[in-house]
Amino acid sequence: MIEANAPRQGQALPRSAGDRPRLRPAARPWAEPSWLGIGIVAVAMLILPWALTLVDGGNYVTHLIITFFVWGIVAQCWNLIMGVSGVYSFGQLALFQVGAFTTGVLSFSVGVSPWVSIWAAPIAAVAAALIIGLPTLRLRGIYVVLLTLAFHELLRNWITTGPQWISGGGYGLARVPRLGFDRLLGPQYERVFYYYTGLVLFGVATYAIWRVLNSPIGLAFRALRDSEDYAISRGVDPFRFKLFLFAFSAFFTGLAGGFSAHYNGLASTSLFDFGVMINLLVMIVLGGWGTFAGPIFGTAILTFLTELLRAFDLYRILALGVAMAVIAVAAPEGLVPVLTRAFHSLFGVLFEADEPPAT
């Protein structure tokens, strides 16, 4: 059994989480989600798109939420690799595009039904991940940065300058078939079904990632990040874990890419732009590098913030850069851990502690 917290030779036992004063479960209902709470949120999520169709501009909000679903998946996947297991891969966007263009080419240029071709997206992404991963993941951190950046560039180059049926003249495929939801209840309700599809994908991906994070594999990943040498000495084989992880996150990323292509009706080469990667990175860093809720939180903030700041588009990237810089220097763990701690310490004053604080 992998014991990620076992002591190293010559060192005392590290203090475990139990040393902090903890509130009794009954005293902090916000930490333990009740089934009722989840149920209410779930129902709300299901009703929401319908409610939005009745509101002016609600369609646009639905679009934002769908965008949140797509990038939320990608952000969580990237976080799983970079934040949780400490593999500095910059290839996530490329894998997304592999998904998008695979299904795009199959459905647009070849003529396969989008409902079939969309499944090729995650498979192609996993294949690509394995191809990159096999040589790359054996190497130490900085080389991974380089190789994944190189892969990104290579793919961008290849797709942009490729034949018409891939590159669409350099900008991407512009008339990717959509999923035909407009035939169900009419065009004004089309988005609702995209919403549900996105919700399902997001839910499945989030759940899968949550399960992985809390499984022995997840512990192993965190051990890898905290001390690779120690984890190796305890029998964790970093390479196989990293490869699995890489493929796992590629699967959902590719799926998100495929869905995005069919939702937006296009597979665009502009998604290779560095700005998009920065956006994604901020989602992870802002929310909480290496945490579970962090990327979800970060994606949500960024998606809705982007809309608010649409007028200031030029300044937006600058602001993102500044935000990232501030976080890197002041709060490298991201907002979620910082806020969580602030929350705990604030409310810890108001409620009795379970045990006396450790000295």
């Binding site: 010559g10 060192q11 005392a12 036992l13 590290p14 203090r15």
Partner: protein, 233 residues
Amino acid sequence: MLKVTDLEAGYGGSQVLHALSLHVGDGETVVVLGPNGHGKSTLLRAISGLIRPSAGRVEFNGVDLTRLPTEQIVGSGVVHIPQGDLPFPEMTVLENLLVGAYRPGAWSERAERIEKVFHLFPALAERKRQLARSLSGGERRMLALGRGLMSKARLLMIDEPSLGLAPLVTEQVYETIDEIKRSGLAILLVDENAEHVAGLADRMYLLEAGVLVREGAAADLLRDEALLAAYLG
């Protein structure tokens, strides 16, 4: 000269040194004996600033060195010759020695200092253009000592000079340390084995589990039968 008071230090969550106090006088050679893993290296590293003490005070000629960055501690004349030698592998012997004279005061005198070091360690002179990574264990040890002497050291702290060396080379190393001692430099030496230091030490301390359990004039401690049994051979 050097006054350490109630020093506490450790790594990560574990504390290695407990309320440790010692002193080294002008021109004195003080030896700290102790078994492996009991904090000898930690002691020197805490004094030279490679690790930060969590409590206590290090004073050298009246100056408080306790939480200063290493470069200032070295600047005040406390030179630490570390365990494992830590040579600069891709530099020649000559370059290694030159780095030792980095501080401005020593740099201007570097030519003379190199002469002195070569005089003390003829083997280094022969190999002055050789890369440090190709030196033998004994040569590395000499390089480490020579490098330490390149600065304007007033107190030399040496960590286990005999570690990993063949008996013959060990003899030479201690003889050289004796010569250094005779030149008037104060020395704080930590070692596991009392055999070679017997002739060198003016005063001795015993370090066990991060605590100094005995101290006294070397002559006194060395007469102790039990001690001789534990720390010789």
